[in-house]
């Protein structure tokens, strides 16, 4: 390697902070997943392969609501779509080619993208992406496994885990509600889902709420797209 990276220590500290948060987040996912009726191997396949928090929670949430588990697939995919858009800045930073592309793609999520684009130099951006990605991935798996093991020996409703999923979703949603547009969209999404509960099959109310985002996104807006950047989930 050439000369040492000046931001190295600061990036490592920030990545560790994100990693510890992710471990707690992962533990709650593991416990909720088991409580939703998934097995331990299924829970770990989601954490290892899907590896994107909101989609994992959505998948187990819809899968637990009864009916066909396939209703959970579009819910997870629609929430995972934002990772595709993170690929644009990440490609500019890392220029992955060939097999490197297959490997790099797995780590393109909210936290790694935010850390990478937050650095000043190309070298620091690359270092931040990979450091955050590796630490986050390891601790996310560890947390998921620990949470899943706890969820196996304890009755989930006895320890109040049925309140965990909606509380976690609200915590994820919270920073996006700072804008008026975000509050209207959240209300709209919840209203559509509520209205459909008695008439639609399980899973459909959540998928239908994506239509609110589609209408909201295609309507002309007074707020510029660039202003929305800071409302992304973490």
């Amino acid at each position: 390697m050439d000369e040492p990276l000046p931001e190295r220590g600061a990036i490592l500290r920030a990545a560790m902070g994100i990693g510890l948060y992710a471990m707690a987040f992962g533990a709650s996912f593991g416990a909720i997943s088991i409580g939703s009726g998934l097995t331990l191997p299924q829970t770990m396949v989601l954490s290892l392969v899907m590896f994107t928090g909101a989609s994992q929670f959505a998948f187990v949430g819809v899968a637990a609501s009864g009916g066909s588990p396939f209703a959970a697939v579009p819910a997870a995919l629609l929430l995972g779509m934002r990772n595709a858009f993170y690929g644009v800045p990440i490609s500019e930073i890392l220029h992955p080619r060939g097999f490197a592309r297959l490997w790099t793609a797995h780590f393109v999520i909210d936290e790694t993208t935010a850390m990478a684009i937050g650095q000043a130099t190309p070298r620091a951006r690359r270092f931040a992406f990979w450091t955050t990605g590796m630490i986050l991935f390891s601790l996310w798996q560890l947390g998921s496994l620990a949470g899943a093991l706890v969820g196996r020996v304890v009755n989930p409703t006895d320890i109040g885990l049925d309140a965990a999923a909606p509380a976690v979703f609200l915590a994820l949603l919270w920073p996006m509600l700072r804008r008026r547009e975000g509050r209207w969209l959240a209300l709209g999404g919840a209203a559509v889902a509520l209205a459909l509960i008695p008439v639609a099959p399980p899973g459909i109310p959540v998928i239908a709420s994506a239509g609110v985002a589609l209408v909201g996104g295609l309507l002309p807006s007074r707020e510029a797209v660039t202003q929305l950047q800071d409302t992304e989930p973490t």
């Binding site: 998948f59 588990p69 909606p166 509380a167 949603l173 969209l185 109310p205 909201g216 996104g217």
Partner: protein, 103 residues
């Protein structure tokens, strides 16, 4: 293979393929402003729909467990007090577990 296993694998691989598409597709497609806006708004509408369904769906009809609701409201109070994810999580499950124990 059970339907749940199949759904798990399809959703997990699908989410990976979305990430792969992001680092492989020509930039012009993903950089379209309208497309980007919809992608940014999707999580807002869907996460709130998930909250509504978790709280009020009793299997195709409206139903609410007030102990779960009270726990989530306690979690919202923690959010209003600017607590982090971990505190919100512990407050919500703690209040619900306590209410279930004493009622």
């Amino acid at each position: 293979m059970t339907p749940l296993w199949l759904a798990t694998i399809v959703a997990a691989v699908g989410c990976y393929l979305l990430k792969l598409a992001g680092v492989s597709l020509p930039e012009s497609i993903l950089n379209h402003p309208k497309v980007q806006r919809v992608a940014q708004l999707l999580p807002i509408a869907m996460l709130s729909a998930l909250v509504a369904v978790e709280l009020f769906d009793g299997g195709g009809r409206y139903s609410v467990d007030w102990r779960t609701l009270a726990g989530v409201v306690a979690g919202v109070i923690a959010l209003l007090l600017r607590r982090g994810f971990l505190v919100v999580f512990l407050v919500a499950i703690g209040v619900t577990a306590l209410l279930r124990l004493i009622t």
